[in-house]
Amino acid sequence: MKTSAWIATTLLLFALGCGLVFGSSYAIDLFGIFHDPSGKRLSVHHNERTAKFFLNERYVPVNFNALLVGGSSTSNFRMDALDFARFYNESLYGSNAVEEKRLVDEALRRGHFRFAVCVINPYLLQSHEFNEGGGIPPRREALGSVNLLREEFYAGMQRLRHSPSSFWPDGGQAMPPSKGRLDTDLEFTFKYDPIALEAFKQTLDELRASGTRIIFLETGVYEPVYQKHRQQFDEFYSIFPLRRADEPLVNFNNPQYATFRNDESLWVDAPHLTDAAAEEESVELNRVIHAEEAELLALPDSQRLKR
């Protein structure tokens, strides 16, 4: 082979290789970015942080009109149990307010959401660093990247094995089963990370500014653990500075839910419910909102904005 031919062939192979990768990513369009994702059922396959970021670019704004902004304690909540809007579950494992803001920002760039259920718990506000060192992935990653390849690989494997993804098209995911007796010595951090708090404040302000009605949710904790830290929990929530008086709070740590919280069989660990229990709590959340906020749910968007 002549040297000049070698140079040309190598560069051509490089260009073809890149074209093949980028072209196939465009055609597969795992995250609904390049083609209209209306009516599609797209889900995370492996890495929820990257996948949800990209799903929020078009798929979430087009297919959903409400968001659940939370951490792992709400990741297995059933969005179809909330019948007053089409909810997308933005919860991430080990999430914090900065990571959630990243997702909400992306969704708000193109979407309008009638409601946002915003979880408040110590986990979300105790740190601000991106888990996995993620940050905001550049959009070009959707055309071919390690993160995309990984998602495509697991999507392919799930299809080959006919095993459904543990992630659902509404953003939720199944919780792994309990590993035995619950650890009642679980420690919580009740300090506000100022950066996380500021990110949460900005998220709420952005949602409010776009006319989204916010419903706060205090997720339950396994009763013996809750009682152990009760004073700290109460102080944490009592000084929570970001909820406005007209924004409802649904609190699953209220005494009326103590029997539910005390049932060890409903918990995977102290802050995480089993899938069945999470479904039960989702139904209860829907009932409470209907019962206490019926008037608000009935308001058309234009009037809700004025309020």
Binding site: M1, L11, L13, G17, E132, V146, N147, R150, F153
Partner: protein, 474 residues
């Protein structure tokens, strides 16, 4: 600008190649050299343009010092060299060690604000060493002093200005006429450069990244590590550093090839070494050469008549200084001391011991030692390094894999497994990429290998994973 960035590969490098080739054709070698100098300035300023001041000051000062050394005689000549060496070392120390030294003083504790926070100019460790070699070579009359134009081109040459390989004036300056290629010989050099660059890019962006997924987890997140896990974490860091730095060197040498000149090789499959002496002949070869010529030899000469104990002491001192050169931290000092002791013992064993160890055992011993020394290199603090050592030799749960099991949740074997397998196989059994480039011939096999390496690397480059080179901080 990083070698493994789209801006470098798709814009900067092709633009420089075209401009230099056109300049050579239209204006001759001087015009090509001007184009290289301008490109080098842009490349260096890309990271932080204020750094240019420090580079320019160093270039001007050393150009002047070299002229004075060459123009003086006898004692004055020596004095100028001494002044030059002191000035260069002081310049390096000002940026690199002031905080470390002042921070080590007991009465400075709690007064951190008194310590000046000096900005660390990128590549200062490398361009200072390059110019120390230049001054010594001028003093020894190995080379004549360069014009300011040649000296600035030599020091700031963008393929090696940030992280080497360390080049000498003697070998490099005479090639300046080749910038933009020589008729008939340029196409093979470009092809070899592309080949080596593609291998280096793959090593850095794919292999080093894959190994870093395990090493970073082990050093940053793992707790109660077992001996087995600690060994795996330190070994994966060893691979990560090898692929990171040798990949960078390949890209530097490949870039220089594409521009028409040859710069020193830096790695020769070091993880296959069967002794520490062999390891340092294969690892960071240009630095090893500097240590031997400009540290070890002068130290040994200063002891008078050479003997084995004196040679061992000189080795120990030279390696300790080399350890400290890596950065202002006791970890690097210990890293240098460990290698100094190992090299000294290796020399003594080779010369005095009648026992010859089996090859596989020598290799295993060398690899384990290199791994352990790298624990100090990688750990953020001395306490963290000591904890790793404690974990390594802990007998309570030697074979536990709980950390590795926990890591599995976030580790993608399908993506990172193949590069790790390729990395281990090539590091232990394959030819070094520089060797492959030496033997390069334009065939279908090499074109497919190169094209595939570039494509896979492009996918990794398009991902949000660590991109900077480990050796940039030194």
């Amino acid at each position: 600008m990083l070698f493994n960035s789209f801006s470098y590969i798709l814009l900067f490098l092709p633009a420089v190649l075209i401009i230099v080739a056109v300049a050579k054709r239209r204006g001759g070698p001087i015009a090509a050299q001007v184009a290289i100098l301008i490109a080098s300035i842009i490349f260096y300023a890309w990271f932080r343009w204020t750094n240019l001041v420090f580079l320019a000051a160093s270039v001007l000062a050393n150009w002047y010092l070299a002229k004075r050394i060459a123009g003086a005689k006898d004692e004055t000549r020596k004095r100028w060299l001494q002044a030059g060496l002191i000035a260069n070392i002081a310049y390096l120390c000002t940026f690199k060690y002031v905080n470390f030294l002042l921070g080590s003083l007991p009465f400075m504790h709690g007064h951190e604000h008194l310590i000046p926070d000096l900005e660390f100019p990128l590549g200062i460790s490398f361009f200072t060493l390059t110019q120390i070699m230049y001054l010594v070579d001028c003093y020894e009359r190995v080379v004549k002093p360069s014009s300011l134009f040649d000296h600035a081109t030599f020091v700031s040459f963008f393929p090696y200005v940030i992280s080497g390989p360390l080049a000498t004036v003697k070998r490099t300056r005479k090639q300046f006429r080749n910038f933009g290629g020589t008729p008939g010989a340029y196409a093979p050099m470009i092809a070899r450069g592309i080949y080596l660059f593609s291998l280096g890019l793959f090593k850095k962006t794919v292999c080093a990244t894959a190994f870093s997924q395990i090493a970073d987890y082990g050093f940053n997140n793992a707790v109660h590590r077992s001996s087995l896990e600690t060994f795996i974490y330190s070994a994966t860091y060893c691979f990560q550093l090898y692929f990171d730095f040798s990949g960078y060197s390949d890209m530097a040498i490949g870039t220089a090839d594409m521009l028409g000149i040859t710069i020193p090789r830096n790695f020769d499959a070091p993880l296959r070494s069967k002794s520490i002496i062999e390891y340092w002949r294969r690892w960071h070869v240009s630095l090893s050469s500097f240590i031997t010529t400009y540290l070890y030899t002068p130290i040994l000469r200063s002891f008078g008549k050479a003997s084995l104990p004196k040679a061992m002491l000189a080795t120990f001192l030279a390696m300790t200084i080399a350890g400290l050169w890596h950065g202002p931290s006791w970890n690097f000092v210990i890293f240098g001391v460990l290698h100094g002791v190992a090299l000294a013992l290796n020399s003594a064993w080779t010369k005095k011991s009648p026992i010859r160890l089996p090859g596989w055992f020598s290799w295993l011993l060398t690899f384990c030692f290199v791994d352990i020394a790298f624990i100090f290199f990688r750990s953020p603090t001395l306490a963290a390094a000591m904890q790793m050592l404690h974990d390594l030799f802990s007998v309570h749960h030697a074979l536990s894999t709980s950390n590795l099991t926990a890591m599995r949740a976030n580790f993608s074997w399908p993506i990172f497994g193949p590069p790790i397998a390729v990395g281990v196989a090539t590091a232990f059994f394959g030819e070094s990429s520089e060797q492959m480039a030496q033997e390069f011939t334009p065939t279908w096999k090499t074109t497919i290998l190169s094209g595939a390496a570039l494509t896979v690397a492009a996918v990794f480059m398009n991902s949000q994973i660590s991109a900077t080179f480990i050796y940039f901080k030194f």
